[in-house]
Amino acid sequence: MHLETLSNPRISPNSAPTLTDNILEVNDLTVNYESSRGTVHAVDSVSFAIEPRRLVAVVGESGSGKSTLGLAIIGLLPTPPAKQIAGTVVYKDTNLSNLDREQMRGYRGTEIAMIFQEPITSLNPVYKVGTQIEEAIAIRESRKTEKVSNSGPLSTKYDRHDEVIASLKRVRIPDSENVAERYPFELSGGMRQRVMIAMALAQKPSLLIADEPTTALDVTTQAEVLKLMRNLMDEVDTSILLITHDLAVASQVADRIAVMYGGQIVEEAEVNELFNQPLHPYTNGLLACIPTGSKKIAKLKPIQGSVLDLRETYNYCKFAPRCPFVMDKCWKTKPPLHETGPEHRVACYLHE
Amino acid sequence: MKQRSSEESKRFLKSFLTRNEARLGLSIVFVFLAVSIIITITGKSLLPYDPVKQNVGPILASPTMAHLFGTDNLGRDVFSRIVIATPNDLVVSFIVIASSFLIGIVLGAIAGFWGGILDEILMRSTDVIFAIPALILAMSIAVILGPSLVHMMYALMIIWWPPYARLARGEALQVSQKNFIESAKTSGTNTLTILKKHLIPNILNPMLAYATLDIGTVVVVYAGLSYLGLSVQPPTPDWGAMVSAYQDYLISAPWLPLLPAVIIALVVIGFSLLGNALRDTIESQNIS
């Protein structure tokens, strides 16, 4: 499948991943939601890793568990209904699943940051944008001084002001002095999302989780913001976990893509490999949904069937009801995720 | 948005009646309404004692079986006095609310629908009336007219309509901008009455909820004015006036001033519960 029209700017031999110093390792993560109508199995035994300065995209439809995955990693799951019942999240050799609330908070922002889908509601409406970024910087600094025993003088509001402007400039916001004095409702959607990125990166995290950051934006702005995020990775030494429902979006910027269905990863590969050799029928289905400009008539083929009921436990392949290649075996046991080639894993009996 | 079907009404009623607030409120209100109606029809004949007759028992007696609420400084039975005063507050409140409702809906619908200068006039006049507290204004009017139950009622009727007019106007504005009004206009059905048939039903709901809550407010204001001696004159019993008259006995016979006051609060609580339940039901029906 050729996707010349989907630009992929940084494919080069040098972006081959290293096998050690993973920023993030998720092992068998399982998260349930208790609801009045039953237990929803949102994330089902998910494992993957992210290396430094790499962009990994998790792609799936709504209900695939991708947002829950993101919240679980940063420890923002609403814990009365949600519960992590198995698995670990290891960030730079620290097992986050063992930490208590206060310890986990210490990692949020300055180690793992997260930006969300709707920037208008995600920014505090009564504070200026600059003030909110400044708060992020102040948090970073207070943590730095906690770690260093003989700390120097804390910076003042005015030193931080310079850094606020710098962080806005970094996300290519023109007229940053002016923008810092604005309230969120005075800015456009694209600007707000840039502000959120600026705010997150101002804390210098090693991992930025971006949950559908461009969904609420128009297509042109979408492309700009994605490109910005990609470019900033090297500049600030951050890895990005991009959560999205849009495979096309992922293909524009990801190094590796993990496809999720029904709370599980069904296929995971380097981006070129995935597009040249999609193995899982669901991935194929997703690819067929992408409109490509090269065809004269855009033929969109939706995936048949309907959304999975996650309250059920399945001891067979969750995609079986919708799979055009389903076999008897698929209804009997769950296909495990296994490697079919270098850096390519798939959970499907078609490829055993 | 269409005409209410009887289906919808049944569902509404059911949703309403299952709420605890509604049940509690209804029971309280029902008691007071029943008493009012009975008293209006039978007068003092059903009461244990004549409310204005003095020395039917010892002076300032505390509550006993013979005198449920005790007796006052002139030996009158307090229970009979409180019961016979029930229609006063309630009837005045109902009439005031009803008239404010009607006046408000008419003025508001006109202003909201036609807009322009009519709207401005309405808004500014309500602004002015809002600036003077209801009780103070009613007080001034009642003083001029002379203190009596009826005059007090007139005074309140004159000043109470602005919130209803504003509510109606707001709803009318929203409705008049909806598409089906446009299509009704273009299809030639420019008859005012037909549009009123669309407009009025949609305005009614929020106004009814507000009116129910508002009854409590009128009761309190009326009681306050009665306390100041601007409504019925002695010896006719009226709750507010009774509180004022018995105030000196606060230490020696605390039930005397407190009982009428608590009864007033009870009426207000009943209508508040009812109004809250009504408003919640309307909101939940709007969501579905």
Binding site: V126 | A131, I132, L258
Partner: protein, 338 residues
Amino acid sequence: MNFATFVLRRLGLAIFVLLGVAVITFTLSHLVSSNPLVAWLGRASGNRVLAAEYIQKYHLNDPLYVQFGYYLLALLHGDLGFSVFKGEPVSEALAQTLPFTLQIAFFAILLTLAIGIPLGVLAARYNHTAVDYSISGFYLAGIASPYFLLALFLLIVLTYTLHLLPSGGAFSPWVIEPYPITHFPLIDALLEGQWSIFVDGLTHLIMPSLALALGIFGYVTRVLRASLLDVLHANYIRTARAKGVDETTLFFKHALRNASIPVVTLASIVVTWLVTGTLFVEVIFAYPGIGQYAVQALSNLDYPSLLAITLVLAVIIVLSNLAADILYAVVNPEIRLR
């Protein structure tokens, strides 16, 4: 529209409303009796000297619209008529009584916030539990109570049963009122270092203010509770958590700051309640403020005082609404800058 334009517009509206109120009081003064002198002089209208003076000053023989013009002029000069009952111009009587009422109002507002806000926070934090329901019951009882009930109730409990607080008056009998610097007795007492007088005044102030606060704090609690519940689920709270903000800062700087905004809109309800309730509370506690003045004027058919008080109270309400609107714009940037 920027802030200055906003303020000017509100100011213009306020002036217009005040004019309207003047029209109403003017109309009322002419409805009092066929003799317009009665509205200005009350029972002194028989007094030839005063009558002649007033007829001339206010052109009481001229057509209505001319009279209204002079009426406005009189108001602007602070001439509100003469109270025979008090034996002084109404404006003097007002000047003496208004500070006392304002003292009550000030403390009542403080108490309303001091009771209403923490309870609202608690009700939100423990929503749908017994704590929440008991708080609701508590404030519902307060809101539903007629003006005099809470005052009487407090009087019984705090004064006659527990003997904690005095039963009435602004000061104890032994107090000599402090020299009027600001004309607010409590402030004057403080300024002159008369601590015991200040404390005495304060103890006399508690019950009237509390009686008012208990009747109105419920609205603050209810609004704050609903608003907090909304805000705590907002996305920007999630963002703040993702930034690593600690829970205390999160609650006060982020959540409460946003949740308090709707509370400001209650200002007009609160002021109306205070203005009305003070009539009753001052009578029951014999506190020498405008409320007591008004009730006295009522019993004595002191028309000039009554009408003037109506006007003055309306002015207070309009001004506080204006202040509340401005405060709301300050607190909510969207209003001010859109």
